[in-house]
């Protein structure tokens, strides 16, 4: 196993770093100031589109999608390096340049989409002309998707949807939704255009992350043509399992990027902040926090590279992915907590980057399958029931 970063990936990461410095950072500054001042970001959508379009133009969008449809053709390991670079740059908006789930194109549409679906949905996503969202969660169905109540009733020429989703990222801004429904033959995934009669986007559900990206979604006799069924009816669980594992590695490598940034920030602060006549980093209590954080970072990174490498080699990595997502997201939580501690009062203040990261990383243990659900997957992979 050789995890040395290949030359071309190093070169790519350097180019992406320049892109972030030149295109994203100035927007990030403006966005942060607006957040600090008003608590809301009226222009986020415009800013997000601008970043996306520039990224498409520069060839940095959808790097993990196959080359045959205009993607970068990068494997999981390559994508880990890229995501670490992007997340580690300390400009939160730069995540939007990737076209990652849920916003951009995904392998489900590539592998299961009909030619017509590819043309209407996948390719516009590849070109950054459209964005999408993934609507699984409902008030009564979170970790347990078998509880999904949104019904897709078979009618002439398609389906009629009734039900409610919540916490759906990018629902208010996307051009179409990928909706997990309960249909006659089990659960099915349907593509719903926005706008469509009977589809309504609820109020923004404000969050700790302050991104204003999640809303409720209501379906009230919403007709969806048959041509918008993804794959086969009744297969939604299998598809979610197969294509969401992708998202879990993505979350893990993002956590690792953020962790490395946090470790840099806390180390710098520990060396420069003087109390009792010497840098606080001269105290063992502080040194240990940094040592533990470096260890967390190293462990998470090693797990992530190993998992990605196995995935690229074609292994079934279900368990590895869950272990990696579990460890990396818990680790980034620990590291963010230590970072706030080392920054002291400054770490708690809105203008400090550490405060923002502390809040933002919290969701990593919840979205994409909670830590408990990852443990459940890991344990079940041994054959244990329960």
């Amino acid at each position: 196993m050789d995890f040395a970063v290949p030359d071309e990936i190093q070169e790519l990461c350097r180019a992406i770093g320049t892109f972030i410095d030149r295109e994203v950072r100035p927007l990030e500054e403006k966005h942060r100031e607006e957040l600090l001042e008003h608590g809301v970001t009226a222009h986020l959508v415009g800013v997000a589109r601008e970043i996306m379009h520039k990224s498409v133009e520069a060839g940095f969008y959808a790097l993990g999608m196959p080359e045959s449809i205009g993607g970068g053709g990068l494997g999981e390991l390559g994508m880990c390096f890229v995501r670490e670079t992007v997340a580690g740059a300390g400009a939160w908006l730069s995540m939007l340049m990737m076209g990652d789930l849920p916003f951009g194109p995904n392998h489900m549409l590539y592998e299961l989409g009909t030619e017509d679906q590819k043309e209407r949905y996948l390719m516009p996503l590849m070109r950054g002309e459209k964005t999408t969202c993934i609507a699984l969660s409902e008030p009564d169905a979170g970790s347990d998707l078998s509880g999904v109540q949104t019904r897709a009733e078979r009618v002439d020429g398609g389906y009629v949807l009734n039900g409610k989703k919540h916490y759906i990222t990018n629902a208010p801004y996307c051009d179409f939704m990928q909706v997990f429904t309960r249909s006659e033959h089990g659960h099915s995934i349907l593509l719903v255009d926005k706008p469509t009669d009977g589809l309504e986007i609820g109020k923004v559900q404000r969050s700790m992350g302050d991104d204003h990206l999640q809303t409720e979604v209501f379906f009230d006799d919403c007709f969806v043509p048959e041509a918008n069924l993804v794959g086969e009816e009744g297969m939604a669980f299998a598809y979610a399992a197969r294509f969401l594992s992708n998202e879990r590695i993505a979350i893990a490598s993002t956590a690792i990027g953020v962790m490395s940034r946090l470790v840099d920030l806390m180390t710098e602060h520990a060396k420069s902040r003087v109390q009792f006549g010497r840098p606080i980093g001269d105290n063992q209590a502080i040194q240990w926090m940094i040592a533990d954080s470096l260890t967390d970072l190293y462990a998470a990174r090693s797990m992530c590279y190993d998992t990605a490498w196995r995935a690229d080699a074609g292994e079934n990595v279900m368990r590895h992915v869950s272990m990696t997502k579990l460890f990396a997201t818990e680790a980034v939580g620990r590291v963010a907590d230590r970072a706030v501690q080392i920054f002291g009062g400054m770490g708690y203040m809105r203008e400090s980057p550490v405060e923002r990261m502390y809040r933002i990383v919290r969701v990593m243990r919840i979205a994409g399958g909670t830590s408990e659900i990852q443990r459940l997957v890991i344990a079940r992979s041994t054959g244990m029931g329960g």
Partner: protein, 253 residues
């Protein structure tokens, strides 16, 4: 239209800079494309694409790997010539110009040689003019835009007051000012394609140059003197007058 672009590969300015025992800059580790040269590369690519034909050839002299050249190839340049030779260690600006001139003469037909106004690390800003002299070509400096038409190159040449409109016969050596265009990013596709583009590595002997009588010795290097403490002016409402007076004394205004 064939265009040659001189690009310097330099140690990453973001990293620590160290000197060798002979007081030359350490050029170990990964060298990157000098940002100053990315503007010339961009302009060359635009000129080639507007012309709809021709090639952009990069020329560089540096020790080590052609990592910076690869970046420019990934941006879209067609091929590269890399002069690498230990005997060039410590070469001064004139020697550099001689080497680049010899490489230019091997590169076939061309309309323009483009360079940056000055490099980021050495910044003598003298190599391009010397290069033009050796090649016997017109030298046009500080270009903010370049157009080739009717056997002539038309350049908007930046000045303190605005810009001059300059024209010269081609071929010519033109230096490009930093920041005048937005250099494109090397995309991943470009990076992969760059691996397959022709890259010729040459030694001094391939250029037929005689090296016996050149080179510089850097006798010593001193830290720049730290700035002397300035004068503090308390503002009693009329401090600006004192500042004006000071600036007049310095003949700045």
């Amino acid at each position: 239209m064939n265009i040659l672009v001189c690009v310097k590969q330099i140690p990453d300015p973001a990293g620590p800079q160290e000197l060798n025992n002979d007081n030359t800059l350490k050029r170990e580790g990964k060298l990157i494309l000098d940002e100053s040269d990315s503007y010339g590369v961009e302009i060359a690519l635009q000129l080639r694409d507007t012309a709809g034909e021709g090639e952009v050839t990069l020329i560089s002299m540096s020790p080590g790997e052609p990592s910076g050249l690869r970046t420019a190839l990934a941006m879209g340049a067609d091929k590269a010539i890399h002069v690498v030779d230990d005997t060039l260690h410590g070469a001064d600006a004139l020697s550099t110009a001689k080497v680049l001139a010899a490489a230019v003469q091997r590169a076939g037909d061309y309309t323009l040689v483009i360079a940056a106004t000055e490099s980021t690390d050495g910044y003598t800003g003298t190599v391009p003019a010397q290069l033009a002299e050796i090649l016997g070509l017109p030298s046009v400096t500080f270009a903010k835009s370049i157009r080739v038409e009717g056997g002539k190159v038309h350049v908007d040449r930046q000045t303190e007051a605005g810009y001059d409109v300059v024209e010269a016969d081609v071929p010519a050596v033109v230096t490009v000012t930093a920041g005048v265009v937005e250099p494109r990013y090397p995309s991943f596709k470009g990076i992969m394609a760059a691996k397959k583009k022709p890259l010729e590595t040459l030694a001094v002997s391939d250029l037929g140059l005689d090296l016996s009588s050149w080179g510089q010795n850097i006798v010593s290097v001193e830290d720049a003197p730290s700035r002397a403490a300035g004068e503090k002016i308390e503002d009693d409402g009329e401090a600006y007058l004192k500042i004006v007076e000071f600036l007049e004394e310095q003949k700045v205004i």
